[in-house]
């Protein structure tokens, strides 16, 4: 791996805007406040009927008003994934102070991750096709069945015409999209990239996941997901969208933009794993972590914190904890580890929302707690109970997917660079 360490300002990529629609609120202010309080969004699912399956918990987006963000003309053409994406993209651009204009629109793009897209719309098409025949299929639904619909709708609503790509690779879709967006800006194909991920709760896929026995069977209570806890019994499905506005440091400096953090490293990897199973050994995580550190020119002891991928799954959490234990075995100072999936659930393309959480952590100098964690499966520096105030120099965003795919990113305090 011969990553080049070009440290010119045009090759340094910074985060200058955050936009999100999450179970802990829409917009970074409410999200940040509730995250710092250790709030939990997990509750009994209200938006769908779960009576046919044995799981009933979810982290739903409940107070989202698309009309606040999206024009009436486009609103009715969009499904829920597209509404959340267009709203989050608008918030990210606004937060970054970027106005789309005839001069810059070809240099603004989007790289969006979505694991399941608008599965509910595809199911609706299938339903009509099977019950009523092909002539009854509503053509209005068709454009939303493609996975790249949310990114397409966002570009139409906001008017940007640059690079537009959707990544769909299960639970690392958003992390991959962010890594890809970073390389697009470095290549010079865009000045601003919106990057993140979206996924929603839908009946078909909630029932399918439940039938795969992945979900926590807990009936109620805020502690359905217990990342890294010995008592964890499965994950809780979440939903939402999180989008970063990325640009080069030179671009941000020229326009006097506020900088949340710098993305100093990225690494991708695979390990042989069945497409529906979480990896069982630590090699894939360790290999990808090392590649990521190499790309950032950092050593393990430089890492202050890890925003983990753990979601309360029996296999995933154990493998992830063991991997960090092995990776930092020789370090005197071990990093703090936290997972926000204890409060936000597992939304698969959660990397967008988690990236927003990590950017806020670096900027505001505190790490959110792992809600639901009281008996750690390994003795590590887990952030539990309440937020941890700390100067975060280099933090890692962990992306691990069933099927054995890994994407790691390093978010650094840009002033300390």
């Amino acid at each position: 791996m011969d990553h080049e360490h070009d440290r010119s300002d045009s090759q340094r990529i910074v985060v200058t805007g955050l936009g999100l629609v999450s179970p802990l609120g829409a917009g970074k202010d409410e999200f940040s406040r509730r995250l710092s309080e250790g709030a939990c969004a997990i509750d009994t699912v209200q938006s769908l009927d779960t009576s046919a399956v044995s799981s009933h918990l979810g982290a739903e987006v409940r107070d989202f008003s698309p009309r606040d963000f999206i024009s009436v003309k486009n609103l009715r053409r969009m499904d829920r994934t597209s509404l959340m994406t267009a709203a989050s993209a608008r918030m990210a651009l606004d937060d970054a102070g970027v106005t789309v204009s005839a001069e810059n629109r070809d240099r603004i793009g989007i790289l969006l991750g979505t694991s399941f897209g608008a599965t509910d719309v595809t199911v609706q098409v299938a339903d009509t096709l099977l019950k009523e025949g092909p002539s009854s299929v509503n053509p209005i639904l068709v454009p939303n069945t493609v996975m790249n619909a949310p990114a397409g709708h966002a570009s139409i609503e906001l008017g940007f015409r640059g690079v537009n790509i959707t990544v769909t690779h299960f639970a690392v879709s958003a992390e991959t999209a962010i890594a890809y967006a970073v390389s697009e800006i470095k290549r010079g194909t865009a000045d601003f990239m919106l990057a993140g991920g979206v996924d929603i709760l839908s009946k078909f896929y909630y029932e399918s996941l439940s039938k795969f026995h992945g979900l926590s069977p807990d009936k109620d209570g805020a502690e359905g997901a217990r990342p890294f806890d010995v008592m964890r019994n499965g994950y809780v499905v979440g939903e939402g969208c999180g989008i970063l506005c990325l640009e080069s440091l030179s671009c941000a400096r020229n326009r006097g933009a506020r900088i949340y953090c710098e993305i100093t490293g990225a690494g991708m990897g695979s390990s042989p794993t069945s497409p529906t199973q979480w990896p069982k050994d630590t090699q894939g995580i360790r290999r990808t972590f090392q590649r990521t550190l190499n790309s950032a020119g950092l050593a393990p002891e430089d890492i202050t914190a890890i925003m983990a991928s753990a979601n309360g799954d029996r296999v995933l959490d154990a493998v992830e904890a063991r991997a960090y234990d092995e990776l930092f075995d020789a370090c005197g100072q071990k990093p703090f580890v936290t997972s926000v999936k204890g409060s936000l659930g597992e939304s698969f393309s959660s990397g967008g929302i988690r990236a927003c959480a990590l950017a806020l952590s670096v900027k505001n100098k505190w790490l959110p707690p792992t809600v639901g964690l009281s008996n750690p499966l390994l003795p590590m520096n887990f952030v539990t109970g309440q937020k941890k105030e700390i100067d975060v120099k280099h933090a890692v965003l962990a992306g691990i997917s069933f099927g054995g795919t890994y994407v790691y990113l390093v978010f650094s305090d840009y002033k300390s660079q």
């Binding site: 791996m1 990553h3 080049e4 046919a52 070809d106 595809t122 068709v142 015409r161 537009n164 039938k211």
Partner: protein, 417 residues
């Protein structure tokens, strides 16, 4: 900036309506073979149209001897796995030597994935109900499972992802694969795409009234829609240095790659063709070539009334008067439109054209359209010593991708047959 690495293609693999492998595909392209006829993969009685470019007589067992894997693969997984083995064998990399696995990646342009199996599952579900349905049949429903199967079966440890930009997915997979090699994040990358035919997709295009009842007629005045197809296409990408070290046969080089977004409408192209113009210009700029250097354009050429006139307009805007001197053909007239796999399949067309010295024709052409007045190669294939081929892929969501391929001359160059 350091000089960019030169990225070459050293292996090809495909299964499509006019080729069970690359050798047969090349012959079909020269001879103008039509692969569009009555579909029998599913019952089309209730549909408005009945034709498509279906893959016939696919023998999955020939490529996937392992019964365990075979059973767990969707039709899409099987097709793309077979194409992968062909491409690796062609590149002299099968069985895959251990030393290449560490940084070998796989980037797939995802299509409908296991939707064909999912619709059968869903039909059962409607009859049997939740509790009596075998949800394990859904394990390959999402298109990302193809890349997981490939990586897992071959033991690949490098970057892996699935890109989904509808009909430009395959072209984007090549572009991203090239970037990963250029930036040193991967050594050899398997890049390509797969699109299986299925009822839901067929119903969706029927509902949009985008399908021609007869065979599609790209650029013809009487054209009335596309012919849906299916295909798997995989290319082996690596640096020139790596190819020369291995003593590999080189089909050609990726010289340029450009992406843009219409930001106009989800399914209709922008009539001003601005998006298509910008993707071609971005690819030309990336390649460092001028409009004078392009010898052949493999058009998106779907044969929808809107696409062909818009694409023609875009080519004229980019190339000026020279547009009339450049042969432009749509091979979709032969292999039909395999949606997400089109960009990767047509990359193979471009590389065969470059390495074997011919221009494939647009077949089924009858009447000239005053608005489509370029040289569409309607009289059959031509022999021509091509140096640079430009390939367009445009998609739902307003996504446009252009890739430029160059002839490779020197040690290891593939020669015509």
């Amino acid at each position: 900036m350091k000089n960019k690495k030169r990225i070459v293609i050293t292996g090809l693999g495909t299964i499509n309506a006019i080729g069970k492998d690359v050798a047969q595909f090349a012959v079909s392209l020269r001879e103008g073979v039509c692969g569009i006829n009555d579909i029998d993969l599913f019952d089309t009685t209730e549909f408005r149209t009945h034709k498509g470019g279906q893959i016939r007589n696919f023998n999955a067992r020939a490529s996937i001897p392992d019964e365990f894997s075979l059973k767990r693969m969707s039709r899409a997984d099987q097709l793309v796995f077979a194409a992968t083995i062909e491409a690796l064998t062609d590149a002299g990399l099968y069985p895959l030597p251990e030393r290449f696995k560490e940084d070998m990646g796989v980037i797939i342009g995802g299509g409908s994935g296991g939707l064909f199996e999912a619709e059968n599952f869903y039909a059962d579900l409607l009859v049997k109900g939740l509790d009596r349905s075998r949800f394990s049949r859904l394990s390959t429903v999402y298109c990302a499972s193809s890349a997981d199967r490939i990586a897992s079966n071959l033991g690949l440890l490098g970057p892996k992802t699935t890109l989904m930009t509808a009909c430009s997915s395959g072209a984007n997979a090549l572009g991203y694969a090239r970037d990963l090699i250029e930036s040193g994040q991967a050594g050899i990358v398997l890049a390509g795409a797969v699109e299986p035919m299925c009822r839901i997709t067929y119903a969706a295009f029927n509902a949009l009234k985008s399908l021609d009842e007869d065979v599609c007629r790209p650029f013809d005045r009487t054209r009335s829609g596309l012919s849906l197809g299916e295909a798997a296409a995989i290319l082996v990408l690596e640096s020139l240095e790596s190819a020369l070290t291995r003593g590999a046969t080189i089909y050609g080089e990726i010289l340029g790659y450009g992406v843009s977004c219409d930001s106009f409408h989800m399914t209709a192209p922008d009539e001003k063709a601005s998006g298509a113009v910008r993707s071609m210009q971005a690819a030309l700029k990336d390649s460092g070539l001028s409009t004078q250097d392009i010898d052949y354009i493999n058009a998106h050429g779907t044969a929808t009334p809107a696409n062909d006139v818009t694409e023609t307009r875009a080519i004229k805007e980019v190339f000026g008067p020279r547009a009339y001197a450049i042969p432009v053909s749509s091979t979709k007239s032969m292999h039909a439109h395999p949606l997400d796999a089109a960009g990767a399949l047509e990359a193979i067309v471009a590389l065969l054209a470059l390495s074997q010295g011919f221009i494939p024709p647009t077949i089924h052409f009858k009447e000239r359209d005053p608005e489509c007045d370029l040289d569409y190669v309607t009289e059959g294939a031509r022999s021509s010593d091509l140096r640079h081929v430009l390939s367009n892929s445009f998609a739902f969501g307003g996504n446009n991708t252009t890739v430029i391929f160059g002839k490779y001359e020197g040690q290891g160059a593939a020669h015509g047959s």
